[in-house]
């Protein structure tokens, strides 16, 4: 069953000079229980899609069904069945203890005590919110608040969880605990996950399916492995070494780009399809002591450009 179904979904914005087509005849079908990463550069149509899916925005043309409902007329009914986390904006009550936000949201969703209390207790446990539950939200750190935001969106056990550019919580999202929690939430409840971002790293960890949107059109729709194959995009591993090296023996698919800082830093690029980051790291660590490393994903603009050159060939 499809939880999100759009057909030729189009949205124009009227601007002082002419109109701007933010979304151009998008066809998208998401099955219940899927985890989908929705990628695009700024201004590619990501937020427009979210607004259309949640009923905040009326389509110019085409149709959209979320949880089987027409979002705009059924906005409040839909709100009971979806949870939205806005990365840039807080849905929590700023000057009240975090716990109060959950209680207020439960009241808004008209959940009986017997339902929401155990649910919130579970979320508090899983997301480790216990120690700052009594603190006003404004006193929380960014990471703590983001966990609170995710819990707030899940209080009413929605069928669909939308994470809109949770950029400020990246560190949180990449944490294993959260990933496992979302995975369990999907397995047990069949919750669908819809994550928008402009950062490839985010989605690779959480989602098996990726949609790349560019100028309001879907430029790519497939698995992470497909994407790597189609684009041949390379990831970059930068390692800081305790002792300088001149050269390294690397596994096939990886390449030494540069040796910097008098041999203390190496820059390696590799194709994710041919060698994994873990294997590459193991190979480097076998030859030198590694102090620190960073992994850089290909920029989304880069991927889009590669997709287009590929399809042009």
């Amino acid at each position: 069953m499809a939880i999100i179904e759009t057909s030729a979904l189009t949205r124009d914005y009227r601007r002082r000079r002419g109109t701007l087509r933010a979304l151009d005849a998008l066809d998208l079908s998401v099955r219940a229980g899927e985890a989908i990463g929705y990628l695009g550069a700024n201004g590619s149509g990501k937020s427009t899609t979210i607004k259309l899916l949640t009923g905040i925005l009326t389509p110019t043309a085409g149709t959209v069904r979320t949880c089987g409902l027409d979002p705009v007329p059924a906005r409040r009914r839909l709100a009971r069945r979806i949870g939205v986390v806005f990365g840039q904006r807080s849905v929590l009550w700023w000057d009240l203890p975090l716990w109060d936000s959950f209680a207020i949201l439960a009241a808004m969703h008209r959940l009986p005590e017997g339902v929401w209390r155990p649910r919130v207790a579970m979320l508090v446990e899983e997301l480790a919110l216990g120690e700052f539950l009594a603190q006003p939200v404004r006193e929380l750190s960014l990471g703590q608040r983001m966990r609170g935001e995710i819990a707030a969106a899940l209080v009413h056990a929605p069928e669909l969880l939308v994470l809109d550019e949770p950029t400020i919580g990246l560190d949180v999202l990449s944490k294993n605990a959260l990933r496992e929690f979302l995975q369990r939430e999907r397995n047990e409840r069949g919750t669908t996950l819809f994550l928008t971002t402009h950062d490839l790293g985010d989605v690779q960890r959480l989602c098996e399916r990726m949609v790349i949107i560019d100028h309001g059109r879907a430029a790519f729709d497939g698995t992470a492995a497909d994407l790597a194959r189609v684009t041949g995009a390379e990831r970059v591993l930068v390692a800081d070494l305790a002792e300088p090296v001149d050269s390294l023996d690397l596994p096939p698919g990886a390449r030494l780009d540069a040796v910097e800082a008098a041999g203390h830093r190496v820059r390696l690029s590799f194709r994710p399809g041919e060698v994994s980051a873990a294997a590459l790291f193991a190979s480097v660590a076998g030859q030198a002591r590694v102090d620190d490393l960073t992994l850089t994903e290909p920029a989304i603009e880069d991927l889009v450009a590669r997709i287009y050159t590929r399809s042009a060939e």
Binding site: K51, F86, I104
Partner: protein, 257 residues
Amino acid sequence: MLSARLRSQVVYRGSFAGDLLAQALLSVTEFVEVYVLLHNAPVFGGMTLVQACVVYGLSSMAFGLADMVFGQLDTVNVAIRTGQLETLLVRPVPLLLQLITADVQLRRLGRVSTGLLIYVWSLCYAQVPLDGAGLALIVSAPLAGMLIFGALFVAAGSLQFWLIDGAQAGNTITYGGRYVASMPAGALLLPVRVFFTFVVPATLVAYVPAAVLTGAELVWPFQPAMAWLGLPVAVLLWAVVGLLWRAGVRRYTGAGG
């Protein structure tokens, strides 16, 4: 949900007391204006000082109550600009209800209590006959006034969906309405009087009931029976602004902010 909001205000007890005091003082300075006008003109717009005090007390109380509940709608434009409106729209509770309960301003009780004090005092001083009809009017008028001002706040809030940068224009009907309602309407130039009766029904809030209660002579186009118009007008106004609000929200979902 509401109780939580109220709690969060009283938490900052020191600044809450200061705010309460400021609201009361604000209301007193508005009263000084009425007083100064009547100090110079013994009869002002067909009313004596005591009669004008009934008008002021009644309007101040009604406005204070409405401001306490609906005053938050002043900042719809801010919610639009910051995108906070989107987070409210994905919740299963009507938008208007969420905005109102987001911040019920208990400090406005400062104004309400000053208004109440002046209202009761001047009613006693004017020796208003306390028959059944008189009592009914004394009690119902502030409530009708609160409903009218509440509707005006919603109307001004709705306009902000169209005039995001020009939210000020809405002040004409809310704070302008308050200003007009606090004065004897007989003092208004005819076009102003007509606008603030038939378009923005501010004169019906306090002037007409107060004149009927204290036996002041009504100016054109008012009739004694209009003292009872408050509640029906409030209902009618709410029906109209309800539609306006819905149109505003539709405009927002149509244009996408």
